[in-house]
């Protein structure tokens, strides 16, 4: 048992357990009514009863998230490369990017429903809009932070521009790209749900909306649990890919301790 508590992967679960107990105690002690905050057990019961529905509704949310995330990477990384390599492109694009980020996505999400209907596309777009900015910012930094000496070294070897990119700049930028991908995927989940809020008949966002309308708080909390699970699992997937792709990086050497490392 004490071995269980001392293993790193068990610690977050232990913390969750503590929070659940405190939650339950608070409801008992302060006499909070069921229609304001449901008891953990009520939520658990709802999950138990409704998990096939919740799992089914998770799929559209996952699709929208992955779609938006994929777009973020496919558009964000090349855009970052152009910004990093051309002062001209940077001066045109960067201010616009920052400007675009200050527009609240919730405010423009209904617009996408008007344009693209109730399907998957508007959700993918909102997920993309939230997910791609951190990728651009962080990837630009990754490409720009190659040491001058390293560039000089490659030049002294008569490197072509392509080789410089493939053998020096890209591997150098990979750690930044991966860390921004982790931020991006969690934001993409938020984006997908926001997209579902404003107009849809499927997805966890839709379930949340519906449960809210019916004052069905246990269902709402159950949906939130599924939503967090989606976020965590996608995050862990990227973390695993990162470990395979850049085993050489400081963050992967096992000498540093970070909370998201489950091992």
């Amino acid at each position: 048992m004490s071995k269980l508590f001392s293993s790193t992967w068990a610690r977050p679960f232990l913390l969750i357990l503590i929070v659940l107990v405190l939650w339950d105690l608070a409801i008992l002690v302060f006499g909070i009514p069921q229609y304001l905050v449901p008891a953990p057990l009520a939520v658990a019961e709802q999950i138990w009863n409704e998990w096939p529905m919740l799992l089914g509704e998770s799929l559209p949310t996952v699709y929208a998230t992955l779609g938006g995330f994929a777009l973020s990477v496919v558009i964000g990384v090349p855009m970052a490369m152009m910004i990093a390599y051309s002062r001209l492109i940077e001066s045109y694009l960067y201010p616009l990017l920052v400007f675009s980020q200050s527009i609240p996505k919730v405010a423009i999400a209904p617009l996408f429903v008007v344009w693209f209907g109730f399907g998957l596309l508007p959700k993918v777009i909102v997920a993309f809009l939230l997910g791609f900015f951190p990728i651009v910012v962080s990837t630009v930094m990754g490409f720009k932070s190659v040491e001058v000496d390293m560039v000089d070294l490659a030049r002294s070897m008569g490197s072509t521009r392509l080789n410089m990119f493939l053998k020096i700049s890209l591997p150098h930028a990979l750690p930044s790209i991966f860390s921004s991908m982790k931020v991006s995927i969690t934001l993409a989940v938020v984006g997908a749900v926001v997209g579902e809020f404003v107009g849809s008949n499927a997805g966890i966002g839709y379930v949340l909306q519906k449960a809210n309308g019916n004052f069905d708080l246990p269902l709402m909390f159950a949906a939130l649990v599924f939503l967090s699970l989606i976020g965590v699992l996608l995050f862990l997937a990227i973390d695993a890919i990162e470990r395979l792709a850049i085993p050489w990086h400081v963050s992967q050497r096992g000498t540093v301790h970070s909370t998201m490392r489950w091992r």
């Binding site: 040491e147 000496d149 390293m150 000089d152 070294l153 490659a154 030049r155 002294s156 070897m157 008569g158 490197s159 080789n163 053998k167 020096i168 591997p171 850049i246 050489w248 990086h249 400081v250 050497r253």
Partner: protein
Amino acid sequence: MSSDDQEGLSSAAASARGATARRPLIRLCGVAKSYPGKDGPMASLDPLSFDIDEGEFVSVVGPSGCGKTTLLKLVAGLLPVSAGELTLSGSRIDGPQRNVGIVFQSAVLLAWRNVLDNILLQAEMRKLPMAAARERALKLIATAGLEGFEKSYPWQLSGGMQQRVSICRALLHDPSVLLMDEPFGALDAMTREKMNLELQRIWMGSKKTVLLITHSIPEAVFLSDRVLVMSERPGSIAAIYDIDLPRPRPLDVMSSAEFARYTQSIRGHFFTQGSLDH
């Protein structure tokens, strides 16, 4: 056929002459460098003129910021000269050269490549035949005392080992010119002396032309045929010393009176300039 013979004869004659006469390989003629500054160009190097002969070992010492690295990068073809003429075996240096190996102030190893692959980067970039390069890399690794570390990553090596890897990388394509920017600056005194001996051995075995930037006066005297002393920035040549000590030089030579005389007089330049760079 007959013309071939004549050419062979004349080049043989030339090399026979070269054994006695000086053959400048790198020539600097009024070479100056200025960087763009806030208010107009900032002079970093005042016009310099000197030659480095083929097979010669030349060191440059000078106060920090006097333009030593700048000088090395000019010779490496990594920076364009602002004025003057800079040639390598007769042709203008207008970009990175094929026949040059460079060791930078820091080891600049790629974190995602192991020792062997870091050294082989040189061959990949220059598109050399890989099998031969690999064989040569392994030989260099053995010479540098890095056997058993071929598959290690840079972060698993000490600073001295990393710098040795970067020297192996600079030697992989067997360049006739070796440019080194304070390669041993980060090493402890004992490792440094060992590396100095090693470098002397490599140089005597291969007869490469070496330009070494260093801030250690004893190191410069110990290794060099000539020591070039630079003045405060913007750098210019304060003095050039011919070091007439017999080769190969054992470490003991450092405690000889002659050696001390050289280091004393070179150190004198820095005192009179009011700068203490070791």
